[in-house]
Every structure is written in C-alpha cells, then in structure tokens.
Amino acid sequence: MTKYTRREFDVVVIGAGGAGLRAAIEARLAGKRTAIVSKSLFGKAHTVMAEGGAAAAMGNANSKDNWQVHFRDTMRGGKFLNHYRMAQLHAKEAPDRIWELETYGALFDRTPEGKISQRNFGGHEYPRLAHVGDRTGLELIRTLQQKIVSLQQEDQREHGDAEAYLAVFAECTVTQLLTDGGKITGALAYWRHNGEFLVFEAPAVVLATGGIGKSYQVTSNSWEYTGDGHALALRAGAALVNMEFLQFHPTGMVWPPSVKGILVTESVRGDGGVLRNTDGNRFMFDYVPDVFRKQYADTEAEADRWYTDPENNRRPPELLPRDEVARAINNEVKSGRGTEHGGVLLDVSTRMSAEVIVKRLPSMYHQFKELAGVDITKEPMEVGPTCHYVMGGVEVDPDTTAASVPGLFATGEVSGGMHGSNRLGGNSLSDLLVFGRRAGQHAGAYVDTVIARGTASDSAVAEGIAEALTPLGVTDGENPYQVQSDLQATMNELVGIIRRPDEIEQALTKLEELRKRASQVGAPGNRIYNPGWHVALDLKNLLLVSECVAKAALIRKESRGGHTRDDFPKMSPQWRQRNLVCRLERGGVPATERVAVTEQPVPTIPVELLQLFDRSELAKYLTEAELAVLGPLEPETRLEPSKGGEQA
C-alpha cells in the first residue's frame, strides 16, 4: 500500500484565498488547531486578481449610504434570486470587516478627512468600494497573510511552535473529503512537490476553493479554478445551488490571443471610462433594461455630469450590472460593430489626463503596456466578455455557512446563494470577509459539539490514493491537456453567454464523451511536481461542475442575470421562486457519478426587507401573490398590471 501520513486538526480550511484565510484566522482566534491547505504558494490566491475594491456601506464618500441601500443594490444586481438573509448579513457586516483589516495593517486609499476612500462601481448606488488603486485584492490577500504570520508569531512566543494552532500546507491538493456515517472526518490530499499523500483528520472542513472558470476557454481565472470545492462537496453528499448562473465579466482583454480573457477592472468604468463601438457610439444607452431605467441616465450629457454631481443626475449606463454590460457587448460584436478581434472599445484616454489614469489605474496601464503594447492614456482598450465568476455553489445555511453534510462549511465563491443570478462588482471581496469570518467561527463552534471524532479507515484512504494514482505511468493514455482544452471549448461554445437548448443538449453529449476520455488519460513521469498528473486529477472536478452548469441551464426556462436563454429572453416571476439544486446521484467511482437537478423554493423574503423597495420596483420581479403580503395598493403607487416579466 502507498505510504501516507496522518495529521490531526480541529478545522481544515481548503483554499487560501481571501475567504479561506479569513476563515482560518477566525478558527485560530477561537482557539482551534487550524490547517490551511492551498494548491498554490501561500499568498498567491486568485483573490489578487480582484482589482476594483471591496463593497461596504461605510458612508465615507456619501453619508446617505447604509446597509439597507447596499442590500437593495445587491438584490437588484442578483435579480432577486439572492438568498435574502445572506445579502442582509453581508450588507450589515461588511463595514466592520473592512475596518478590521486596518487593524491588521491594511492601507486603503484615503478621503481628505483621512477615512477610507470609496469608489463608484456598477450597480452600487453610492461610491462604496474601499480600494487601493486597482490592486485591492492583492492588498486584501497580503493583509490576511500577514495577520496569519502575526498569529503564528504569537503562538511561537506562547507555545514555542509557530504552527501550534495555525499551519499552512502550501502546494498541497485535496482530492477527496473523508466522511464517516455521513459526517466529515477529514480530507485526503497530496503534496504537489513530491506526490506524497497525507490525511487531514478533522471534524470540520471549510471549503474556500473559489470557482470553476477553467471549464471555459476564455476566462479571467487561473489554473486553480477547477471547481474542486464544488466537486468535493457533491461527492461528500452536499448540494449545489444556482449553478446555471455564471458571470461573464464584460471587460476582458481580447488581443493579443495569449492574453484573451485577462481581466480589465470595472474601475475603468467606475472612474469615467466609456464603452464605444467601432461606429464611435456609446452603445450602452441602447441597452438600459426597464427594471433599471429609473436609475440610469438616458443622455451622454447627464451621464457625464453624474461623475461630479451624482445628487442631481443619473448614473451612466456603462455602470449597469455586469450581466447587462456583457450581453450588450456581445450583441454589438455580433451585429458587426465590434473590432476585428471581436471586442469593443473601452476608452479613458479622452476622459482623463494621462497623469490621473496612471495614478488611479496603475496596474491597467502596466498590463496593457506590457502585454498588448497599448498605451491606455493615448488610445482605447479593446475588450470583450470573459468567464469570471460562478454565482452558484454549495448550498449553505446563511448564518453559519454550514452545508447539509455535518462538519462541512463553505465560504466565498464556492458557496452559493449570496449573489443570486448575478454578482455586483465589489461584492466578492466583502463576501469573502463576511462569510469567511462566519465560516471560521461556526466551524470552530461545531467542533465543540463533536463528542466522538470519527477517523478515516486505512482501506478508505488506500482506495482514495489508488484512484488518484490511476493516471500516473499510463503511457498510451489520452493527453489530459487535450481533454481539458476540448472541455473548455465545449463549454465556451455551447453553454456560453447566450444559451440555446439544442446546443446545451450537444454539450451534455460531448461531456459524456469527454468523461470517457478523461477516465483514460495518462500522465507520464513520476509523482514529483508533475503538472500532467495534476491536470488529469483536476479534470474530474471540471467535468462534474460543467455537467451541473449545463443541466441546470437546460432546465431554467427564463433569462436572468448570468443565465440568458435565446428561446426565453424574459425574466419570469414564476421562475424567480425556484432554485435549481444539483446533487450527485451515485457517489463513489467518478466514472459512474451523475448530476441530478431538482427544483426547490427560493426562501421567502420577509416583509420588512421587501418594504425597503418601492412596490412598483418589486412588481417587476415578484408575482401578484407575493406582492399581496405588502397589503392593498396605495392609489399613488398603482401601476399598470404587471406584464409577467421584463426584458432581461
């Protein structure tokens, strides 16, 4: 039998991005022996790609801002499919989570009064994003990383061992969650650097593995985003919710080909950048949907005045939520008004001085100059949609982040519900702080309730190891890189921004073929830092999450947020009441695992939260029956009868 080591902890956090690190800090503060397991080096998580900022209603830039306004914006952005309780907790707790970072040493940009500066972003009514230029994610990850180091220094002083309560396992990949009697007992993992296996024994596991972007060809996500946590949760018996909703960020680089998909921050538009087609038109004015017409300008003059006088003018339509902008760009390009490389033009050069651009958007300036040879102070950027974020994820209890499997918790992008059908920019960094903390706290509290800890049997571990080793040494197998690339092309072409049922069916057939090929992949070489082997293992997870996306996308017969159906272009209040939930039909051997999708009611929004909105706005999203809880219509708010849906 292949050798392995066992390590015992209270809480094991899988993933070392913002959510994972914040969860680990909280578990350690609760006195729990905590492990952080990361596929990459410590501090290299995908969180560094978050550029714009972290949304929190601190009210520093506009004192009218408060949690209720943030809650409203989040629900609107998610087209009312969000789990209301998560959106509420998020809006309420985000400011405390940001202020806390300052006590860890974070240095945000400042207002003239010395408070944290806040910037405008798509879908946010007031300037709300705490930021550091356009490298906020890096600041966040570094701050959390350094807080962990400071806690380890405390433990070194107190216990003579820096890792007594907080140990980082960098470049270590989890292949399987271990359960006993339906409860979590730990996780099986291998070290990337030498291929040796280790078993984490712990009653609580926090998934903080991020998203699934690597199932698409054009994506802003790194190699790590292979849906590991989503797949681990499914195989452990947990459910995924809202998997049909993928966020295509409207502005990724499109040229040259090697950088296609790399993110161009929304701050470019928040700070005054405008979108034009090749006819020179600011086309976003043609794409303001009815549900947002009240909040967005209909002339360029008003939109331009808004930057200096937001009280008396409405916002520019470039700052609509991301799903709207992505669809608009997609349509402009398809209608022949795009560039030869399939993008549109995002311009700051005619809007701000070169000095201001370099100061406010330093990494964009750098990125375009170095990777595309484009000077953004002199010419426009070419941009197009790129797969950026999955709204769907592990179904969790909103207060505790607990999944349905006892001992399993999920936070950050891998969890579902918070963002509904579409996430607002800036709500991700705040999400991972708010729910990262809650995950650490509640995983720790759960550990205290566990009386007898289960252990993984040697045979279960041996089985898991044998499965992970299967592709190694197979010299005549399929090339895992090729299978991955074919999978990405399939999802990109057939389950992309605009979805057609026949194409989704095709995708499902292709996924079936890819699954067969994936079971025959081979990875030459040994276990020492072998990327071919690693890709082969990641493939199983990518296939499983792709199946979730495709199956749910086929079932949801409406267009909402990050799910647009060619044959059902409108939002449906009836569909708003339904969540699609994915579960694994048969666990065990990956070759036989299949995703089953069921419908489940969306949790009912309490009246006091509904009352934060105008009834006329709610009527665009909810059914008549749902509106009845608000009492009879007041004469002055009486509207035309709802047409049962709006153009999405």
């Binding site: 290299k44 560094v48 006590t103 240095l107 570094r142 400071s150 080909p257 090339n479 071919g532």
Partner: protein, 256 residues
C-alpha cells in the same frame, strides 16, 4: 506571424539536471509562459513550472530567461528575434524541486521572523485616520507581488548560501520599511531590527533588486537607503548609544 522558436529549458531535480533543447511554435503577441504551456501540452507533460494569474499580479512564474530574473508571463516573445535561442532556467538562489520550480520557503521563513504590524491600542476599528500622502510611501512597498526576483538576484545570497541565516533580503527590507513608514505602526525600532536581525548591513546598494522588480518598486532608493540612513542617525545619537550599551537587546525590544 507564427514561427518555430528554439528553446533550452533546464530539466532536472535537486540532485541533477541539464539543459534540454525544444522547438516550439511561437505566435503573435505571446509571452514566454505561453510557450512553456505549449511544451507541457504537446511535448513535455511533466515539465514543472509555477504560474497563476498570467497577468503579472501574483508573482508565481518567476524564472531566469537568458540568465535574467523575469516573470515568464510578462516577458513577451516579441522582445526576441525569431532565431534567438531562449534559455529558461530556475531561480538560482533557491534549491530546485523540479525543472523550473524551486523551493522558495526561505522567503516565508524570513517573513515570519519580522515583527508584525503593531496596531495602536487606543484606536478601535473604524477610528483609523490617515492622510493619503502618508499612506502612499508604504503603499509603494505593498505593491510587492512576492515574486522573489529581488531575493534571487541579490548577490549577498545568490551564490552565497552561507549568508542566508543572517540575511533576510530586499523583499523583507521593504516590508520593514513599509511598517516603519506606516502612519499608525507603534514600534519605533524597525530600522534597528533591520540592522541587528535582518542583515541590512550586508546590502551595499548595488540596486540589482530594483532593476529586476516587475512592479518597479524603488527598493534601494525608497526603502533600503532611508532605513540605512536613519539607522546611522540613531547609532551616533549619544543617548541611544548609551541605552544600547546599558540595556540588553531583549530589553530594548521591550522598551519599543
């Protein structure tokens, strides 16, 4: 626009290895990392190389290209002629794990030895007030993506493993400077610590670190030199000098 490029990659592990020749397609607009990925996908599936963001933001894909420490993702193929042979080797200052992947744990060990941010005790979260002009000095150093190219190029340790126990390196010096310049950090011995415990004195300001920094942080001018200068000021301040003579180092640290 495509052509067949010539590459020499170091392949091996901590015991042995050698430069291996490859021919690979190069397309318009590509960076060196694209070619490494192509080699993995078509010729050498087990070729080890780190990468994450592919946009110069995470600092994972550090290596040496034609002997120069670079990020693979930010080195454009158009900076070479089609008939150039491009040699890619792992970072020299750290032990090789496999191929282009090195063991960079030295940097994490040194980071852990530097005392963390010491927050003001009398300010609650939300009460921090700082001026933009005051945070900007530290913000420059917080741009660091921890690619460790500065550590790799620094001649104090590049070919001198024996200096590693005494020397923390430029990455850690800018962290020390960042905290020293942080408007609300309450420790006032950052420079002394840099001198006494991080080996700042080994640096003789050749600016190699600044030259290779992909974030263009002025490591030497804005961090190391100011730290050295102020250490000199204090060292020759008679009261401080006397304190140092009377008190042991742990007492000095406590006083701070």
């Amino acid at each position: 626009m495509s052509y067949q490029g010539q590459f020499r990659l170091w392949r091996g592990d901590h015991v042995s290895g050698e430069l291996t020749d490859f021919t690979a397609e190069v397309n318009e607009g590509e960076v060196v990392l694209d070619v490494v990925h192509r080699l993995q996908a078509t010729q050498a599936p087990d070729l080890a190389a780190r990468w994450n963001c592919k946009a110069g933001k995470c600092g994972s894909c550090s290596a040496e290209i034609n002997g120069r420490p670079r990020l693979l993702c930010m080195t454009r193929m158009s900076t070479f002629a089609p008939d150039d042979v491009i040699t890619i080797t792992p970072l020299r200052a750290f032990p090789v794990i496999k191929d282009l992947v090195t063991d960079v744990s030295f940097n994490y060990v040194k980071a852990r030895e530097l005392p963390a941010f010491a927050p003001p005790k009398d300010l609650a979260p939300g009460e921090y007030r700082m001026q933009q002009v005051d945070v900007e000095r530290s913000q420059e150093f917080r741009k660091c993506i921890e690619c460790f190219l500065c550590q790799n190029t620094c001649h104090v340790i590049r070919d001198h493993d024996e200096n590693k126990p005494e020397f923390a390196g430029p990455r850690v010096f800018i962290r020390a400077a960042e905290l020293d310049m942080h408007p609300l950090d309450t420790r006032d011995d950052r420079k002394e610590l840099a001198q006494a415990e991080q080996g700042l004195g080994y640096c003789n300001i050749t600016k190699c670190c600044t030259e290779v920094c992909p974030e263009h942080i002025k490591i030497t001018d804005n961090a190391i030199i100011p730290m050295k200068e102020r250490v000199v000021d204090r060292k020759y301040d008679p009261i401080t000098w006397l304190g140092r003579k009377i008190l042991r180092r742990d007492q000095l640290a406590e006083r701070a």
